[in-house]
């Protein structure tokens, strides 16, 4: 990319005593993008955000904002407002005073403060609560106050640390729309930390998946979903079937892989072509797997498995299965398909997929 990134993490390491929270991170964040950093708790995602905000100092490496090193710049001299998980609204100030806070800190005069805060109160549709106490607001209203408070200074970048985790499911979806719209209209960079796949994948332009302080994969949601790089990512997304084995044959863009459950044909990897004898791991997305009562006809990889459970999520269901050697399998199916199959828990079923549905994990 020719354009200079807004933020660069250059070999950043963060240690707390002997615990390494972030391990040699290289990450570019571009102007105007919605970047989600995702991972389970303790993966270093919040530490990354806090280093960017200036609330933690990196142990090693360099963080640059618009090309300038900001490692030692205290948070109150940066322009990196953050929205906290707890929102951290000031309970001793009313809504308007909360929104005006950072303007006041910059010495903006009272009339100008009121005007600019008023604009944001209006934009976030909380003008009518301007004189209220924080304690009198609902969760969604508080969320809007927190956003207005951070955006009132019109920063280049907004940091969000799991801001929606305290809201109920319905409100969460509404606030996701508010955030997406806001980011698009303002055109500023959002860095959004979350453990929720649905939040990250529905809003972000790019998603960073972290595990134990290491970036496992960076990419567009669709790309990560279709072509996970590592076993961790594939398992974390939770919708793939994962097989490990050895390559026994390669030809015409396909490879044959010997696994404990059988021999499967899989598309050759574009990122990291594999050769005969390599140990590889490949994933098959659960929505590209067919289930049938008999062995299917045609060029399919097939194995037999026992149905161990099913879970209904809206219009689709996930069928959980187990192969003879204990490999866990899953398939996403619509209710109609399932009705035709007459799946029973404990019954046997044939799981099959085409060679091009298999994706070799290049990071393994």
């Amino acid at each position: 990319m020719a354009e200079q990134p807004l933020v660069e993490f250059d070999g950043v390491i963060k240690r707390f005593d002997s615990f390494v929270a972030v391990e040699r991170m290289d990450l570019d964040i571009h102007k105007g993008e919605f970047l989600a950093i995702m991972g389970s708790s303790g993966c270093g995602k919040t530490t990354t955000l806090r280093m960017l905000a200036g609330l933690e100092a990196p142990s090693e490496g360099e963080i640059r904002l618009e090309g300038i090193r900001i490692n030692d710049l205290p948070t109150w001299q940066r322009d990196t407002p953050m929205v906290w998980q707890s929102l951290a609204l000031f309970p001793f100030l009313n809504v308007r005073e909360n929104v005006e806070f950072s303007l006041k800190m910059r010495g903006v005069d009272a009339a100008e403060r009121r005007k600019r805060a008023g604009h944001w109160l209006e934009r976030m549709q909380i003008s009518e609560f301007a004189e209220r106490n924080i304690a009198q607001l609902s969760g969604g209203q508080r969320q809007r106050v927190a956003l207005a408070r951070s955006l009132v200074t019109e920063p280049e970048i907004l940091l969000l640390d799991e801001p929606l985790s305290a809201l109920d499911a319905h409100l969460k979806v509404r606030m996701q729309a508010v955030l997406s719209d806001l980011q698009r209209e303002l055109g500023i960079t959002f860095v959004y930390v979350t453990h929720s796949q649905s939040e990250a994948f529905s809003m972000a332009d790019r998603v960073v998946i972290m595990s134990r302080g290491v970036i496992e994969q960076i990419g567009a949601p669709q790309e990560i979903y279709r072509t996970p790089r590592t076993r961790f990512v594939a398992e974390f997304l939770g919708s793939s079937n994962i097989f490990a084995g050895k390559v026994s044959q390669t030809r015409k863009g396909q490879v044959a892989i010997e696994t404990p459950t059988g021999r499967y044909a899989t598309a050759q990897s574009d990122d990291k072509p594999v050769a005969v004898g390599d140990s590889v791991t490949f994933a098959v997305s659960g929505d590209r797997v067919q289930l049938s009562a008999k062995t299917p006809k045609g060029e399919f990889n097939t194995l037999q498995a026992k149905v161990v459970g099913e879970e209904f999520v809206g219009a689709t269901a996930t069928i959980y299965m187990e192969a003879a050697d204990g490999t866990e399998l899953r398939a996403q199916k619509s209710h109609d398909e399932l009705r035709d199959l007459s799946i029973k828990i404990g019954g046997n079923v044939f799981v099959s997929w085409r060679a091009d549905a298999g994706h070799i994990l290049p990071g393994e």
Binding site: G54, W76, A88, F90, F101, M105, N133, T153
Partner: protein, 281 residues
Amino acid sequence: MRKSITLYGLTFSLPLLVWQLLFFLFPLVFLIALSFWTVKNFRLQPDFDTANWVRMYGREVFWQAYFLTLALAASASVIASVLAFPCSYAIAFKFSETARRWSVFLMVIPFFTSYIVRVYSWQVFLSDNGIINAALAWVGLGPFGMLNTTFGTMIGYLTLSFPLVVLLQLFSLMFIDRTLIEAAHNLRCGRLRTVFEVVIPSAKVGLVIAALFCFILTFGDFVSPLYLGGGDPPTLSILITDTTKSGQQWPRAAVIALTMIATLLTVAFAAIGYAYRGRGR
């Protein structure tokens, strides 16, 4: 619907109720009654005579003592709060967990010895040929008159109230949500400014109550103004003892005591009202 008073609740609150009746309400009622009694030939006589109130409130020495006591207690509250705040702030935010525990322990130690003993030992330090003046004379300074001055009274007041003020402030500071402080920093509020913009407003209730406790303790204190302040001009508590000693004037002493109670109640209600103002409107 839940009954507002259950037998179970009543059983447990009964001791408190009995205590309050026996040792607060009855004495208070008695004190009110006493303030209308008369003294004839050095003997108390039950009566209903407003002469004690008229007499006390008409005397200049009473009002002098009243405003002196009020000013002293208010100054002590301000001085103790201002001196205590950096201590409690450091203990709450800068100290390690272990250091914090030790500081709390050290703040409790003064309560091991009687306040009177501590005030007497201050005399050894503050008198004209005491330890401090001896040390100052050694470098060619002084002597400074510290005993029997307002300064001495204030030292005594701080001896009485300072550890308690620090502890009360400390507990309110420790309950502050740390993310509020980070949020303030993040919103361009520097370190020192955050203390005034966020820390003090967050801990306001505790800080006001700490100052209130200091006021209550020092307003009624008799020991420091007498043994370190010299007792002249008298504070209200000294005036009470003087009044009882001169001609068995218990009814007039009761007038002073009731005025003090009324003042303390007013100050306490005002302070608590101020502390909680703006919360949960």
